[in-house]
Symmetry: C2
Subunit: 457 residues, 2 copies
Amino acid sequence: MFYRSLLLPDLRMTLEAGDTDGLGEFCRALHAAIVAEVLAELDPSELWTVLRACEPELQAEIFGFFDETIQVSIVGVADRKELSKLIEVMAPDDRVDFLEELDEAQLEELMPLIAQAERADIRKLLSYPDGSAGSIMTTEYAWLREEITVGEALDELRRQAPDSETIYYVFIVNENRCLDGMVSLRELILAKRTAKLTDIMNHTVISVRVDDEAEFVAREIARYNFLAIPVVDSHNRLVGIVTGDDALDILEEEAYEDVQRTAAIEPINESYMLTPIFELARKRGVWLVVLLVAALMTAFALKSYEEVAKEHVWMAWFIPLVLASGGNAGSQSATLVIREIATRRMSRRDKFTIFFREIKLASLLGGGLALLSFLASVCLVDHVSQAVVVTLTVFLMVMMGTVCGAMLPIFIEQLGMDPALMSNPLIAALVDVMGVIIYFSAALAILGQVVEHVPAL
Amino acid sequence: MFYRSLLLPDLRMTLEAGDTDGLGEFCRALHAAIVAEVLAELDPSELWTVLRACEPELQAEIFGFFDETIQVSIVGVADRKELSKLIEVMAPDDRVDFLEELDEAQLEELMPLIAQAERADIRKLLSYPDGSAGSIMTTEYAWLREEITVGEALDELRRQAPDSETIYYVFIVNENRCLDGMVSLRELILAKRTAKLTDIMNHTVISVRVDDEAEFVAREIARYNFLAIPVVDSHNRLVGIVTGDDALDILEEEAYEDVQRTAAIEPINESYMLTPIFELARKRGVWLVVLLVAALMTAFALKSYEEVAKEHVWMAWFIPLVLASGGNAGSQSATLVIREIATRRMSRRDKFTIFFREIKLASLLGGGLALLSFLASVCLVDHVSQAVVVTLTVFLMVMMGTVCGAMLPIFIEQLGMDPALMSNPLIAALVDVMGVIIYFSAALAILGQVVEHVPAL
């Protein structure tokens, strides 16, 4: 924001003056991420004019920081030949992400212009299923054979550096490209130049499989504080690496998806502003309809108690209150339990522990809320026994909501589904139906006696 | 999980045999993160016996991977002298996090045993407020003066490596320790040994201030794909660095806090299992009480329509349905808008754009849900006009819920508060009160006429 307002007027003047050198200088002087943020304010053809003013490597670096909408918009205005040069020097993982956004016609135009080696790399990366380690890895990693010396290794790294995403982790492969070890640049720098690589390298390496889930890969990187993790195929052959900055992006994305599911939204991958309104409506509407159907059940349940409700009109006042107590308590439990499930595997014992913790918590919270409900409802109703109905229902609702909120995600996980599907509103809706039954059963149990009792006075 | 069950029996046997060499070997053979996970299964004194079997540097590395509960439990059983050695070689940022968990008495026992230099470092880091860049940075960074050659720089780095968290980013400071530039180890390796550092270094460096928020620091690291970011004081003096793996932890933590706030839970920093039950009850109870009070408003609102409700008992059936439509639509909007606010600064124009998008969306979603509600409610009620009341209310509720859900977080942010405080249940509760008014007003407007009309037949 700050950068944009400061740099944009100057850039526009340079653009209008047609000062190509000035534009190139602008791109080189700032961090590529900042350049990308400023350029995002221009329209695609202006943006391309600026980008053309610098060399393909820098173009590719800046291009990698644009979001996908801007990347695609540039395809519409850029010269095909120049664009294919840019694509050739892009990081393989960014490149595939970008190409996946293009339509058939655009790909058919561009692909033949891209060099053979890069085309093969693109095809290979595109073949990995979405959301797998293969789909997020880069193929530009530094690698060495173990029989060389540290000095030779450093010389070789200097050769590989321009084509490697990182040279801080170097992977050691045998003649079949099987992963045999790794060495960090730190270790190389600290070792004697004459030392044998095989003597200083780490022979056990933690790696992931090409078909592992992207989120798992990101969590492994986070768990070990790695800068990168090697990706191997089923024969332990090194096929790529995933770097720490990608892990960060993936975990951010996953976290946001979970938040959306919690609020009953089908996850929107792009930014809110960039998502077309009909897609937003669909992703929100689906769940609103599901929740409406669930609410209809509650309406049916309420209708079935028509006679009781007619006699006790005051009961309607507390319907939102008793139902919300259960729903809110359930949302809280579900949120905490879903997180537990997501971040660590649970044994059967852990599940029992959670169950008993939630029961204890529910008694505490239910007791407290019931007391408050009694004090408040007694001011609204005519007879203490009516307040007792509300109080008892609130207590039972908090108990039931908490237990459902804790148990439903575990149950859903047992079925092999994503527990985050049990969104908070859905738990609330399910608790509502049962809440109506509890509320009116409590009323019948308590007031049934009172009604009989009163005429006897 | 996998590691635990595989390695634990073997480790227990080594422990029982009192085989110190075997224990040391166990610690050295595996990644420190895995060792920590396996050791977490032992009781504190067993754990300390294993840890003692290896050198302090490795002890500190493994210790850094324990969660705080385990770290603190070790203090109860470890020899004071040995523990202070471990503390001395810990990474400064991990060390401060650990010491903050100890009580006065424990600190008074330990601190005098820690070497003077480390004690000064601890005091300095403890002085930065919680949640600031200063509180998460490490003081062990690699630094150079710019007047030397690349060859001299590499030699100096070899000296600094053992005491630096990373040597991949090296920071250049002047005689007053002001940050003047940075150079990556990659650049150093690729340059000629005789080149002057000042010719190859980057003279503009992106840095953060020691009082910047930790979350901001983490976002800057993510934005630029940095491995580390330098932290400077108000005089641009380099005081520390924050590394990429810490950024990852911070963003994960922030994301989880947001999820909890969304579900109306005061954020729990530790794991669910480790949080004492009364603390959990308090952090959940506070919000349940707030929401109960909000629900009482709804009860009051409903009571004020007592006469209408008596005449139209069927209206009670749809109370949960109409209120939930508004609450669910509001939760969805709030979730998406809170995210927009968190990840980018919004101009006034952006806010208007959001407002109009949400209005459009609300019309689409409200229209769809209203249609479904009509079809469903018409089966439940006696008269079409009653279904019309439900339909109109659902439409208005979705409109109002969506607009409130989008606008309340923006409003809260304008007041300088965290928009995540506007949790989904709170939005639902506020929408409920207004919902009652809408529902009964709609009934009075539509049925008022019908009631007059029916007797005229």
